[in-house]
């Protein structure tokens, strides 16, 4: 009986797969976000205040998608092939290929592994969609990421990076020729930046001058500059392994997801085995601070990617394995209330660094007041929860709970901090100034 129901559901899904254009809900309200028991304090639920919009995905997506820079479009792969979804209208059209569909930062082309370029203008035109202009850049490998090196009258120079176990890069010129139409020509041979390093999941910045990758030897995500002569040098180490990074269009910000043990808010009903979920973070390279975009404990937020206006798009998958509840979410990092220095996230607070101690105390306090898992409270992650509250709620948390939990905070979650005992001397007022 159960199998029959599953079969029926799967076949219903298949029948609904968008082989032809379809329209979906562009203002989705994920069910689990609405299931907050009344007796849970508001400061425990940590509202998703950075999220601007959620758009339903009409079928099972793969974990690969990329938003366009300015157009309200997201290119994504599903079981039945590649698609383009319009986030404003909910209109979905199938596009060529079945994986890794990536728009160039100038929105001129949709690229696929190879590297093949398909003119976006044609895909969006119903008359030309079936036979779009195609160019082949000839750079074999997976995980391609494009950048625009320069623009000139009548054309652009693109850089493509692919990530076949070692990053490879090649530059191409695309220009409109009066006789030959739109042409593409390589400007160099494919080459490997930082060939002595084992770098995985490389992602090129939009201007093609930097890339982020997981440095296997370092065990962390790093940023590398590609110099004018093609050499590469490390410029930044995040100190933690992350999911694939995406650069903002001005290169100041990075966004990525982290698979983390997230202390379950008591607000959310969840299964213990689902405590490890993926959430989206943003890193400010200028101030070296990290901010948190999502606070899902009952869902996963994957592979965020920036748009030109500074907003980002991520894929949301609820934990319950039901169809039809996937969505793309648009979030605005400018709404992050307070940022955490990344060294506070990746290292122990230095002795005497009161601001670090007190901020982590705010995090641990949130954990003891709201979490189901006292033994697993991570004050760094929890600090990003507390710093995501509005000021009034943060004040309420401190006022209501500090005296109740401060001994647990000091002897438990923060016991490894130097001078942790000094936190016992703090009054609520001392912590309030570290709220958003």
């Amino acid at each position: 009986m159960r199998r029959s129901i599953c079969l029926l559901a799967a076949c219903t899904l298949c029948a609904c797969a968008p082989r032809t254009p379809v329209t979906v809900d562009t203002q989705l309200q994920p069910k689990e976000l609405l299931q907050v028991p009344r007796d849970v304090p508001e400061y425990c639920t940590v509202a998703e205040h950075t999220v601007l919009q959620r758009v339903a995905i009409p079928h099972t997506p793969r974990w690969f998608f990329k938003p366009f820079a300015e157009k309200p479009l997201v290119a994504y792969a599903s079981l039945t092939g590649n698609n383009l979804i319009n986030l404003n209208t909910g209109y979905v059209i199938p596009t060529p290929g079945d994986r890794d569909s990536v728009p160039t930062p100038d929105e001129e082309f949709l690229t696929s592994p190879g590297v093949n370029l398909i003119r976006v203008e044609d895909l969006l035109d119903e008359q030309r969609r079936s036979q779009p202009l195609r160019l082949r850049a000839d750079l074999s490998g997976e995980y391609q990421s494009p950048g625009v090196l320069r623009e000139f009258d009548g054309g652009r120079d693109y850089r493509f990076m692919i990530g076949r176990f070692k990053p490879s890069v090649r530059d191409f010129r695309v220009q409109r020729d009066p006789q030959r139409g739109i042409t593409i020509e390589p400007l160099n041979k494919a080459w490997r930046p930082c060939p002595k390093r084992r770098l995985h999941l490389p992602m090129l910045a939009k201007d093609g001058r930097e890339f982020g990758a997981y440095d296997v030897a370092a065990g962390s995500t790093r940023v590398f500059a590609i110099d004018g002569d093609g050499q590469c040098s490390p410029v930044e180490d995040l100190g933690i392994p992350t999911g694939k990074v995406s650069f903002s269009f001005d290169n100041r910000w990075l966004t990525f997801h982290l698979a983390i043990f997230d202390q379950a808010s008591v607000a959310i009903k969840e299964r213990p085995q689902d405590r490890w979920t993926s959430n989206v973070f943003v890193y400010d390279r200028q101030t070296r601070r990290i901010g948190r975009i999502t606070h899902h404990t009952a869902g996963n937020a994957y592979y965020p990617a920036f748009r030109r206006d500074g907003t980002l798009v991520y894929l949301f998958k609820p934990l319950e394995n039901r169809y039809g509840r996937y969505s793309f979410a648009v979030a605005d990092p400018a709404r992050i209330r307070k940022w955490l220095p990344i060294r506070w996230y990746t290292q122990l607070c230095a002795a005497g660094d009161d601001a670090c101690h007190r901020t982590l105390a705010l995090g641990a306090l949130w954990g003891y007041a709201c979490s189901n898992y006292d033994a697993h409270i991570n004050p760094r992650l929890s600090a990003l929860n507390t710093l995501s509250l509005d000021q009034a709620l943060c004040h309420q948390l401190v006022s209501d709970k500090w005296f109740e939990h401060r001994e647990s905070v000091v002897s438990g979650a923060l016991r490894k901090l130097p001078d942790a005992a000094k936190l016992l001397e703090l009054g609520a007022q001392d912590l309030l100034q570290h709220c958003p």
């Binding site: 298949c14 032809t20 079981l79 997981y214 296997v216 065990g219 043990f261």
Partner: protein, 156 residues
Amino acid sequence: MQRRTGFRRLIGALAVCLLHGAAVADSPQEFNDRDLALLLENGARGVIYLWSPHMPYSAQGASEVQRVAAGLGVKSVLLLDPYAEPALTDLVLQSQRLPHSAARRVRAEALLSMGATQHFPTAIVFERGRLDVRMLPGYTPPQDLGVYIHQRLKNF
């Protein structure tokens, strides 16, 4: 061209329906801390490979890593994205000819806390009761994967 693409998509969708009906609908097995301890306890050496049916290259690599490990004479343990769709998992198990044991969902905290589920695939070498602290996220062609596993095992 469009008609051919549409036909391919239709076939793909039908395949999901048929395979899902034929697939084992029981709760998927999990690979937890106890399983990991058992694996490491018996002194085996090899590679743990985390894959997801939502990441096509990871599924492709799942078939390859078995051959690579066998060629090196070491063990390969395929573990599934804990949040993979069951129907899609069944489809990929069939199409890639993966063993049913490859559908064990990773729940071992030692792997999760390394960030091993941040990307699929991710390969982690193990030997003499220990996990390598280095992860290898992202698709790696078989030849290079073989070299990597060999080197890491040598340097343990």
